[in-house]
């Protein structure tokens, strides 16, 4: 038994005010974070014939569909570009988009999906969104392998900017969590948000230049010339715009995607949303078990 002491090792109080994010405690629970992430990955494709191969098949199929539908059928591919180069460009965007999409979906439902845990045992509740986000890293890694193969096949070289690529990957996860933690908590009470969030994600995909440049949307949206600059600004504030264009810029030197001041503003807004979201999460996490 440890030495008796007059200072309690733990105090339980009514919730109230703003609680700091307890990094020390999160660190103590790092094994749980790791095990929860593993659980997510290992259990995902169990008992399917292709098993983990699905993680690699899904992005390839997505890229093929986008290349086919937008690039070839709808003519988003510029005349001078060959199909394989266009596919590399699309896959480049798809890799980071799928990372975001999966992390976002999983984070949005992380409380409801872990109800059985949350109502039966204490753990730092932030583990739930973190494990949901980290579980998507596997998809990212395999998507990157496919990207390298595609680049070799199409003869596309990388650039020195590739050192910035991890920053855009990180930003994709931050973007997923920044909105995801809000929805995770609010959807416990308002299940409507679960469905709304999936529609939101789908809408965002079409607003993000994964398979076509943003100009295509603006050109065809019938926006008048006078308000067009405003729309362009709004477009570029979408953090996934920054991620997709920036990732492409860093990996294959796509000049249009170079970060701008607007990118910096977008990152700042995303970070602010994330930090506010994390504090909100901490504010309500001690009683979320009552209503989940």
């Amino acid at each position: 038994m440890s030495t008796p002491t007059n200072t309690p090792s733990m105090v339980i109080k009514p919730p109230g005010g703003w609680n700091p994010i307890d990094l020390v405690e999160l660190w103590r629970y790092r094994d749980m974070l790791w095990r929860m992430t593993l659980r997510d990955i290992k259990s995902r494709y169990k008992q399917s014939v292709l098993g983990p191969t699905w993680v690699i098949v899904i992005p390839i199929v997505q890229t093929l569909i986008f290349t086919l539908v937008f690039g070839l059928l709808l003519g988003a591919k510029p005349e001078e570009e060959n199909a394989s180069t266009y596919m590399v460009k699309t896959h480049c965007g798809m890799v980071v988009w799928l990372l975001f999409a999966r992390a976002f979906t999983q984070t949005c439902s992380c409380i409801i999906a872990n109800e059985a845990l949350i109502t039966k045992v204490y753990f730092p509740r932030l583990i739930a969104p973190l494990a949901s986000t980290f579980g998507s890293i596997l998809d990212l890694l395999l998507g990157l392998v496919v990207l390298v193969v595609l680049m070799l096949y199409a003869g596309v070289d990388t650039t020195a900017n590739i050192v910035y690529a991890p920053l855009f990957i990180l930003l994709a996860m931050v973007a997923a969590m920044s909105v995801g933690v809000w929805i995770a908590v609010l959807s416990v009470r308002y299940r409507d948000l679960r469905y709304a969030s999936q529609n939101f994600r789908q809408f965002l995909l079409y607003l993000t230049p994964v398979a076509y440049p943003a100009a295509v949307i603006l050109d065809n949206a019938g926006v008048s010339e006078s308000v067009r600059p405003t729309f362009e600004v709004l477009f570029q504030l979408n953090p996934m715009y920054v991620v997709v264009e920036g990732f492409r810029w860093s990996v294959i030197g796509h000049a249009d995607g170079a970060p701008t001041t607007l990118s910096a503003i977008s990152v700042a807004i995303t970070l602010a949303l994330l930090i506010a979201g994390l504090f909100y999460f901490r504010r309500v996490d001690s009683t979320v078990a009552d209503i989940v």
């Binding site: 038994m1 440890s2 008796p4 002491t5 007059n6 309690p8 090792s9 733990m10 105090v11 339980i12 109080k13 009514p14 919730p15 103590r28 629970y29 094994d31 749980m32 790791w34 095990r35 929860m36 593993l38 659980r39 290992k42 259990s43 169990k46 008992q47 059985a116 845990l117 949350i118 109502t119 039966k120 045992v121 204490y122 753990f123 809000w182 609010l186 009470r189 308002y190 299940r191 409507d192 506010a276 504090f279 909100y280 504010r283 001690s286 009683t287 078990a289 009552d290 209503i291």
Partner: protein, 427 residues
Amino acid sequence: MSNDIAIRVEGVGKKFTVGELATIGDLGRLITAPLRAIGLGSAPTQDTADNGGSIRDHHVKRHDYWALKDISFEVRRGEVLGIIGRNGAGKSTLLKILSRITAPTTGRIEMFGRVASLLEVGTGFHPELTGRENIYLNGAILGMNKTEVNTKFDAIVDFAGVQEFVDTPIKRYSSGMRVRLGFAVAAHLEPEILIVDEVLAVGDVAFQRKCLGKMQEVAESGRTVLFVSHNMGAVQQLCSRGIFLRNSMVHTDAAVSDAVAAYLGSIEQSASEDIIDRGERAGAGDIRIAAVSVRVDEDAPHGHLMTGQPALFTFDLEGKDLSADIVFTVYDHRGQPICRFTSFECGVGDATARRYTCAIDEWPLVPGRYRINAAVFAGGESQDHLEGAAVFDVEPGTVGGRSIGHDANYGCVAVAHNWLTPSDANP
């Protein structure tokens, strides 16, 4: 000296809001919730100003309910405390607060030492993962680190008796194996303060004994144990002190035998109240038990049976027209379960039945005072659960031609039997 204290609970209360959680009227609040939460919100609306601004209170269909009120007690190091009370008395809420699953509304709790709480066995088990993977996962969820699990891994596998299946997905395990594995992980936590729910109510008898043994071991090693249970036998065997919760408050805090006596007394007392008025029940509530009677035959008075004579248990139901089934368990005066009766697979659960009668030809229990807990099941879920649905006395009678008197010291079941004389046995 406060050095001896392991847990100090001061004025703890917990308020719940009952009623509809999400309504159309909430949509506006929902949209502004993020803004308000980060402090950018407008001044409180009429709505929130009326009730102090709590998100939960503003709708008229909701009302507050205090599941716990002003609970205070201290637990000394090495003490084994049992918490008892009926459904709805606040036991589970107290347990959840002590386990930090949810926060109290008022009050303060101080813990001195490493705490482990066990509300169920195998929390977080994933059916697709192997036994080995689940041991590490469950260990991590309960707060063990990898090194700790590594050193205890073999002991856990041994205790659970799943050596051959350790690399098999646990969805292939029997439910008994899963429970054993879950308890085995928890049993190797080695906390200074252990908080346990009635997890012992699961598993086969041999394993239950093993679990009780392990708990006894924990208790005897000088660690602090808080045990929440319906099983009065287990509570009296394990605990030195008992707290009886009633109507969200501490009713009795005393030696375990006194707390159990107070609990059993309250059940008998409320058994005389009109059943339909009683609040302490669990279940979905579409169907409720409205009345229960226990008698020798149709014309006999309620509350008396006789050993060896017929017995009729009658249950009147109220509520929706659903086909229902009844389960009831007979307990002795010490709170030990004796036997159970169910209407499942008897074909009586047709939609129109409002009165269920269970008939026993020869009542087999010896004289004494007994009570029953009764439950109603319909539509695949528990509808009603009533503790102390009836209390009755069994009078002396005869079984198999032998008279059975007042002596429960040698067991409480009377069985008709014959002896073979030596000449009969060896013809």
